[in-house]
């Protein structure tokens, strides 16, 4: 009788690896510099490309002459992204590229390009709705409503009107966007900095055909990416510069590496859109919110005029009486790309701040008001939210430290607390994999996934080691090549489910086949067999070692495939998460410092507790960045992205992070949910939690995030006036 193994995760108490803190398998490679990124690719004969980008708010191409660039020593290929008459709609828009023997020769080539443009009108003030309307830069608003807002406002105990905002930020990957392309016997090979190994070959094929009339079969394109220095939602495509590199590579008959320079990266490699809102919010005397009336606007750049959907506001809470209006404005700024949890950080920053202000108006603690309204959150998350709020409050000492808004101390330095909560889906993406058991007992997993720094390789090894009862070093995880079985793009917190599900399924299938062989040899029932501790057991009786069992397989070993997602309980979706901040504000300089930042986060069954916590730490650090200092600054005068450098695009330093306290919410009920993605959630609530803490400290709402010294000082001064 063939062995029939149930597809499921094992009992939690029996796990050797799952849920434990396992250091990532590629840590030493990364820390030592042995890990090779696309930016490190340097095949024999490689040319290095640099881009000429537009320096202005908006303009029309008058002339573009690359001939002088071609005369520069070392220059081997040039490429024009635009032609005469084309419009360039944002600072940093690509004009041309030059590939040369050395990087500085490519820069000389870029300087030799003759490029003229006629300036056009620009509009870049994303907060200025009236100005945008006057400049005809708005799209028709969308609206939705529910219940009777006007009646609810009349009967409410308190009504608060507020303005809130969150500025645009840029993707800031440590490894900028780019690729190293080469053609070998008509086949294209790309070392690409990507979150989408399996999906990018087809994108190269279609864009090469469309943009440059170059034909290549998808079967002849290989995309490679073993390591990527950050993506966060911005690295899914071949990108115009990657396609240009492939084109120049073909022309020059040489490999071409084109990585964007830092300024261009900030300007065109994707932004997280801005959001601003005017809110009227009302509550009864117990803090139950009875009405919400809001109008939000913002820009997603690229002259698209997009803005988040009215169905998404207010965030998480479905109040009974609602009016929501949203307007997109068109600004001359680089287009957006998905940025970690799009657009939840903005939604949360525009919702949970207003809830905090109504709590303050009632003289109540924000914790009490959030709890009073938990019945308006999705039903399946309510118990989780309550538990997480209580736990976060314990961890930060809310009951002891909390004071009403504006009672943060007598001196120049005021201290305060704030909270916010969030949700995210995190469902597994579609993915396949191959799992092999070799006759020598070694195990392999092959899939066209990628490890964007989150620990995918480690997680796959843990799943296989757990399933087969072997050690981690017996598992070889192969990924990062589009020749492997296709796996989904790493975005939206979908990868952990997207790889753990298929690998578990394939491994269980392979284990069943191995048990068939072992059972026959040792005359036992295959269904009585288990694999643990490097041995195969029938009940409590040791049958053979893992290696000896595998030795029965013959030369071919076992190869199985796994797919996902499936409704077998291995993965599921939707998490909550609660964050609380304790901050100090220097009211004389406007400087805000984080004292403590607490995150309590659920994510179903945790594969690697260490990398899960690392995700949350990373989310909090990114959150502190965009809450305090990180923003795109567009100069109204010139239309330029004026702070596109690492001096003025201010990211926090280690000292700015404060004490981070991360706790994974993991009762058995979470384990039973299966694996859920975690990448996005921890970055969502940071802005609102920190803004609320500053408001609690000072008694003044600083409307727009990030809470720079200037914004805090300006708000405090305005409040005094």
């Amino acid at each position: 009788m063939a062995t029939e193994l149930k597809v499921a995760w094992g009992p939690r108490k029996d796990n050797v690896y799952l849920g434990k803190e396992i250091t990532r398998l590629d840590g030493v490679e990364k820390a030592s510099g042995a890990a090779k990124y696309a930016a490190d690719a340097n095949p024999k004969g490689c040319l290095f490309a640099k881009v000429l980008s537009f320096k202005g708010g908006a303009g029309k191409v008058k002339s573009l002459d690359l001939s002088e660039a071609l005369k520069v020593p070392g220059v081997k290929a040039v490429h024009a992204f635009v032609k005469e008459g084309d419009e360039l709609q944002w600072d940093g828009a690509l004009v041309a590229a030059v590939a040369a023997e050395r990087q500085e020769q490519a820069e000389d080539g870029v300087r030799a390009i003759k490029f003229m443009f006629d300036a056009m009108e620009h509009f870049v003030d994303e907060d200025d709705l009236k100005g945008a309307e006057a400049a005809k830069r708005t799209k028709a608003p969308s609206e939705r409503s529910k219940g009777d807002v006007d009646a609810a406002l009349k009967s409410a105990a308190v009504v608060h009107k507020g303005h809130y905002g969150i500025a645009t930020i840029s993707h800031m990957c440590l490894e900028t966007h780019g690729s190293c392309t080469r053609w070998e016997d008509g086949k294209l090979i790309v070392n690409h900095s990507t979150q989408n190994v399996s999906g990018t070959p087809a994108n190269f094929v279609s864009e090469l055909q469309k943009q440059h009339n170059i034909s290549v079969d998808a079967a002849d394109v290989t995309v490679l990416c073993q390591f990527v220095g950050g993506g966060f939602g911005s690295k899914f495509a071949a990108d115009d510069w990657g396609v240009a590199a492939a084109k120049m590579s073909k022309e020059a008959g040489r490999p071409v590496r084109l990585m964007l320079d830092r300024a261009t990266e900030l300007k065109i490699a994707g932004t997280r859109p801005s959001g601003f809102v005017d809110v009227t919010i009302a509550a009864d005397k117990d803090g139950k919110i009875v009405a919400w009336d809001s109008h939000h606007w913002g820009s997603n750049g690229g002259m698209k005029g997009g803005n988040f959907n009215v169905a998404q506001m207010p965030y998480v809470f479905g109040f009974d009486n609602l009016k929501v209006k949203g307007t997109g404005i068109m600004t001359n700024s680089g287009p957006d790309r998905a940025w970690r949890a799009p657009p939840h950080p903005q939604l949360c920053a525009l919702t949970d701040t207003a809830i905090d202000d109504i709590a303050a108006k009632l003289g109540k603690s924000a914790v009490d008001v959030f709890l009073a309204n938990i019945d308006k959150t999705p039903e399946k998350l309510q118990a989780t939210y309550v538990a997480e709020i209580k736990r976060a409050a314990e961890l930060i000492g809310w009951a002891k430290k909390w004071h009403p808004h504006g009672k943060g101390g007598d001196g120049d330095i005021k201290r305060g607390l704030g909270m916010a909560l969030h949700t995210w889906g995190g469902r597994a993406h579609a993915g396949t994999c191959t799992v092999r058991i070799n006759p020598d007992g070694s195990v392999e997993s092959l899939s066209g996934t990628q490890d964007i720094g989150t620990g995918t390789r480690t997680a796959i090894a843990m799943v296989l080691a757990e399933t087969f009862g072997i050690t981690l070093d017996a598992v070889k995880v192969r990924y990062g090549s589009s020749v492997y079985p296709r796996s989904g793009p790493s975005g939206g917190s979908t990868t952990i489910g997207g790889v753990s599900g298929p690998n578990r399924r394939a491994a269980i299938s392979a284990l069943g086949k191995l048990f068939d062989v072992v059972a026959e040899k040792h005359k036992v029932d295959g269904n009585s067999l288990t694999a643990k501790g490097g041995k195969i057991w029938s009940g409590t009786k040791e049958i053979c070692t893992w290696k000896a069992g595998c030795g029965l397989l013959g030369m071919m070993g076992i190869e199985t495939t796994g797919e996902g997602p499936k409704d077998d309980g291995l993965t599921s979706e939707q998490v909550g998460g609660v964050q609380m901040a304790d901050v100090s504000v220097d009211t004389k300089t406007g400087i805000v410092r984080i004292n403590q930042f607490v995150a309590v986060q659920d994510c179903g069954l945790i594969v690697d507790l260490l990398t899960a916590k690392s995700q949350v730490y990373g989310g909090l650090i990114m959150g502190i960045a965009y809450s305090l200092t990180e923003e795109q600054i567009l100069d109204n005068k010139t239309g330029r992205y004026i702070n596109a450098d690492l001096e003025n695009y201010k990211l926090p330093r280690i000292g700015d992070i404060g004490e981070l306290i991360v706790e994974m919410y993991q009762p058995d009920s979470e384990y039973e949910r299966g694996v859920i993605g975690l990448g996005e959630p921890p970055v969502i609530a940071c802005g609102a939690a920190i803004s609320n803490a500053v408001a609690n400290a000072t008694g003044v709402r600083v409307p727009t995030i990030p809470l720079t010294a200037k914004r805090v000082s300006d708000a405090l001064k305005a409040a005094k006036a």
């Binding site: 320096k55 500085e104 820069e107 000389d108 300087r111 001196g411 120049d412 330095i413 100090s584 220097d586 004389k588 300089t589 406007g590 400087i591 410092r593 200092t629 600054i633 100069d635 109204n636 005068k637 010139t638 330029r640 004026i642 702070n643 450098d645 001096e647 003025n648 201010k650 926090p652 330093r653 280690i654 000292g655 700015d656 720079t708 010294a709 200037k710 000082s713 300006d714 001064k717």
Partner: protein, 341 residues
């Protein structure tokens, strides 16, 4: 970056000769911590970099004329660790505030004094004064980090030097050298022209893009900084830093105080990052003399120092910030500053 010649002299005379060539279109490479940024962004285009790190006579700290002489090649870490520096508390305050090992290990005091403005229009290629079609981009654009004092002329950037406020407050002098005209026709020897200048006269507010932010002429450089005797003087610098790490101060103030019997007998207060040059608050310092240094007195001195502030459209917030820097520098110098962020 563009190609350039690289020269590595070992003596003062060699260095000056190398700097004088190319019509003086040369740049001094000391720590290089900001020079590399300027080169990469193509803000400056020197034909030659003269690496002065190997001119041994420009290195080290030693007592001189009752004070201390610091060579231009002395790194910030070396200053921080030297016994003779300990009395110059206000300089140590700045070094401690840099919080970036790359800067403190390589950067030099003289290099900091010669830093070009960090104005984002300047660094984005609009020229030192950022004028376009006869109009100041700073005046009508995003001037949040720009000057609130001394900004009525075309220059509206802020002086970038972090050490100028404390060193000027100490009445420091700098040794400037340049190549002297050759002794006679056909004589290939070079001689050195030397002058000692009070540091407060080193900085200037340019009125055109071709004027510099200091009095340095092409081919000229600082070789030494001399600080007077530190005894009986209390000093401190307070920098307003948004980030707890490498960051440009948004305002700073340094002071040197002589206090006897609880009464201020002498005072000098210098602000940084508020004007195109380091800004000496003469009236506030004069007013302090003869008074006890209390928190209220310090606060008033801060207000007096900024009394003539003329904020631009987006930097009103810097006025209180700078007032606070003055107040806190005075309190810090007298050990009265409570814990701050």
């Amino acid at each position: 970056m563009r190609s350039f010649e690289y020269a590595r002299p070992e003596t003062e005379a060699e260095a000056l000769e190398l700097l004088a060539e190319h019509g003086g279109n040369t740049a001094v490479l000391a720590g290089g911590t900001d020079l590399m940024n300027l080169l990469k962004r193509d803000v400056i285009q020197p034909a030659r970099l003269v690496d002065i790190k190997h001119v041994s006579s420009w290195k080290g700290i030693k007592p001189q004329d009752g004070g201390v002489l610091i060579g231009a090649n002395t790194t910030l870490d070396e200053i921080n660790e030297h016994a003779l520096s300990a009395d110059y508390r206000s300089l140590i305050d700045v070094i401690e505030g840099i919080r970036a090992i790359q800067i403190t290990a390589n950067g030099t005091l003289a290099g900091d004094l010669c830093q070009l403005p960090h104005c984002w229009y300047f660094r984005n290629g609009y020229g030192l004064l950022a004028m376009q079609d006869g109009e100041s981009l700073v005046a009508t654009g995003d001037n949040r980090y720009h000057a609130i004092l001394g900004n009525s002329g075309p220059a509206k950037f802020v002086s970038a030097s972090r050490f100028a406020p404390p060193t000027i407050a100490w009445d420091a002098k700098v040794r400037l050298v340049t190549q002297a005209p050759s002794a006679g026709e056909g004589v290939a020897t070079t001689s050195v022209k030397e002058e000692w200048l009070p540091l407060e006269y080193f900085f200037q507010t340019p009125k055109t893009n071709s004027q510099g932010v200091t009095v340095l002429k092409p081919g000229q450089l600082i070789t030494h900084v001399w600080l007077p005797n530190a005894s009986d003087t209390r000093s401190a610098t307070y920098e307003v830093l948004e980030l707890c790490g490498l960051d440009q101060p948004q305002a700073s103030a340094a002071c040197c105080l002589g206090i006897d019997g609880g009464i201020v007998r002498s005072a000098k207060i210098v602000l940084g990052h508020v004007a195109p040059t380091p800004w000496i608050a003469h009236e506030a310092a004069k007013w302090l003399v003869g008074q006890p240094l209390t928190a209220d007195i310090a606060e008033t001195a801060g207000r007096m120092a900024l009394a003539k502030a003329m904020p631009l459209s987006h930097n009103d917030y810097k006025v209180q910030m700078a007032e606070t820097a003055v107040k806190r520098a005075l309190l810090k110098a007298t050990n009265q500053l409570d814990e701050v962020l």
